[in-house]
Amino acid sequence: MSEKVLEVKNLIVHYETQDGVAEAVNDVSFSISAGETLGLVGETGAGKTTIALTIMGLLPKPAGCVISGEVLIDGRNITETSRNRAKQRKNDRMMRRLRGNDVSMIFQDPMSALNPVMRVGDQISEVIRLHSSASRAVATQKAMEMMELVGIPGVRFKDYPHEFSGGMKQRIVIAMALACNPRVLIADEPTTALDVTIQAQVLELMNDLKRQFNTSLLMITHDLGVVAEMCDKCAVIYAGQMVEHGTVEHIFNNAQHPYTQALFSALPSLDKDVDRLKSISGLMSDPMDLPPYCTFYERCDARCHRCMELDPPLTESEPGHFVKCVHFMKDNGAPSPKEGAAAAEASL
């Protein structure tokens, strides 16, 4: 379990647009071991998809650029770029071999992720043929097996994407993603576009296949229920930064960062009857203009004077549980967030 398949180290990604620089990902680090599932949680625009695209090497060029940091897949750094053209071409070729073979991705919307003019079977076997020297017949055979594996009869090999329902298309996308038995699978909100009954099926399928192939999974979602069901570890992303990181038990039973706590209080509860759910007031800070202090300050219930003075580092609050909050910094003299919230309420 200790073998790290995917490692992201101090990743900083910016989008350089005409209106300015958007700091999409700011100093994010995490790692996934073989067979492990990490959930990336965060609201829209927090930088989750950017992280995924960086790992795939698919950042939109020329706007998106990796400012610093490394992404290691099986120890190979894939963010290296070179001014030397020949070298860069070699990098590109390596990256192309990696994609689909070692890392693959499941996209958010299965409706548009398949080429409408290609038979689904051909799309699956294409992945196989791109990454191995398999003959057409062997690849076809393998593709059919993959289709059966995701619960679609092999006889539908010759059908076109428009003849499938959304859930079935997502299964085909999963079959495509797993066809080459990748080390890392990135699922970018794989169930967002599906209706609830299909969601459970698809998640279960992904879990089964992940176990079967011992694939590491990076699960990007804004659905905490999905995280609880699928993940071993969980990272909460806010404004391109990791604000809390730990095992699922840490996050779900002992959420420490005010943002994570707010996320949970925004969920309906089964055992309590609540009329109104709590929302997090305000908007996420503009990535073009991030404050030099804690990015969650404006919306935080537990803010105090210390919060505006510095940008707190990610601190280990208990073994394996990291929080990026002033209140958890070692010997900072600030009250814990609960006390802070109480103090804030008292002052009102």
Partner: protein, 305 residues
């Protein structure tokens, strides 16, 4: 796994497989859907039939023509249409029907070849420009702009005049002068499909640029390209005739409709049929191509259903 693959699904699959074995035509492929829509459009089918007939006429011209296209008979000059000469004769006593029939062998192939060349060169450049974007796009499209700053007809006249008469030079003139417009069409078509998710997922499975372009973008962009292809052939045939009419294209005695018109214009009062029939042929051909192109556009564009 077994849970997902229910017996009901298996039954449906079996049924499907059986019905498929019975009739493979039951399957709906994108091209088959388009064909179905095209079949419903009567005008388009009419255009297609006329076009097919013209192509057959061109292929079997030797059997269909009552006489050779250059057989002269000076005692039968400028005869009006009769049973012996269905379309009459011209000022050299040549049978106009035969000349019109042989004319299909000139106009149709030249029209198609011009458009194929224009699309091969212009389309490739346009596709590369759209795919690469940025500086490459700018450089290619600015060069095309320079070409396009001269009206295509004038450009064709200039090229044809400087190269001299002959079918090959005519093809060159028309291909080069229409190339920039074709590159724009292909570029626009590729640009509209380029942003689709399946292109991203093609990149995500490690497909090379060439593969993305040829297997993912081009087949999805083929609708507007195919449509403009048919319209372009119509325009090219008109251009061939126009250039021949002003004496820059095909020269006598090769029976080109445009040059036949040109020869007939002096006899307009005495023998209007000399001019009428080649003119009609040009009109019918262009009309057929346009009708077919219109139908094709409707059939290939799902939004116009």
């Amino acid at each position: 796994m077994a849970k997902l693959y229910t017996p009901a699904m298996a039954a449906v699959a079996k049924k499907r497989a059986r019905s498929k074995r019975k009739a493979t035509s039951g399957q709906s492929t994108p091209s088959r859907e388009a064909w179905k829509r095209l079949k419903r459009n009567r005008l388009a089918i009419a255009g297609m039939v006329i076009l097919a007939a013209l192509i057959l006429v061109a292929v079997f011209a030797d059997f269909l023509a009552p006489r050779g296209y250059d057989v002269q008979n000076l005692s039968e000059r400028n005869l009006p249409p009769s049973l012996k000469h269905l379309m009459g004769t011209d000022n050299y006593g040549r049978d106009i029907l035969s000349r019109v029939i042989y004319g299909t062998r000139v106009s149709l192939p030249i029209g198609f070849i011009c458009v194929i060349i224009a699309f091969a060169i212009g389309g490739t450049l346009g596709a590369i420009a759209a795919f690469k974007g940025g500086r490459t796009d700018n450089i290619i499209m600015r060069i095309m702009d320079i070409f396009q700053s001269i009206p295509p007809m004038l450009m064709a006249i200039a090229i044809a005049a400087s190269l001299g008469n002959g079918a090959l030079n005519l093809v060159l003139a028309i291909s080069i002068s229409t190339m920039p417009a074709r590159s724009r069409i292909v570029r626009a078509a590729i640009l509209t499909v380029k942003r689709n998710d399946y292109i991203e997922s093609a990149r995500a499975i490690g497909a090379s640029s060439r593969r993305q372009l040829l297997k993912y973008m081009l087949p999805n962009a083929i609708g507007p390209i195919l449509t403009s292809f048919t319209f372009s052939v119509a325009t090219a045939i008109l251009t061939v005739s126009s250039l021949s009419y002003i004496g820059l294209g095909i020269t006598a005695p090769t029976p080109e409709w445009g040059s036949m018109l040109s020869a007939g214009k002096e006899l307009l009062r005495q023998a209007p049929h000399v001019l009428l029939f080649p003119g009609l042929m040009i009109m019918v051909t262009v009309l057929a191509l346009n009708l077919f192109g219109d139908g094709l556009r409707d059939a290939l564009d799902p939004r116009l259903k």
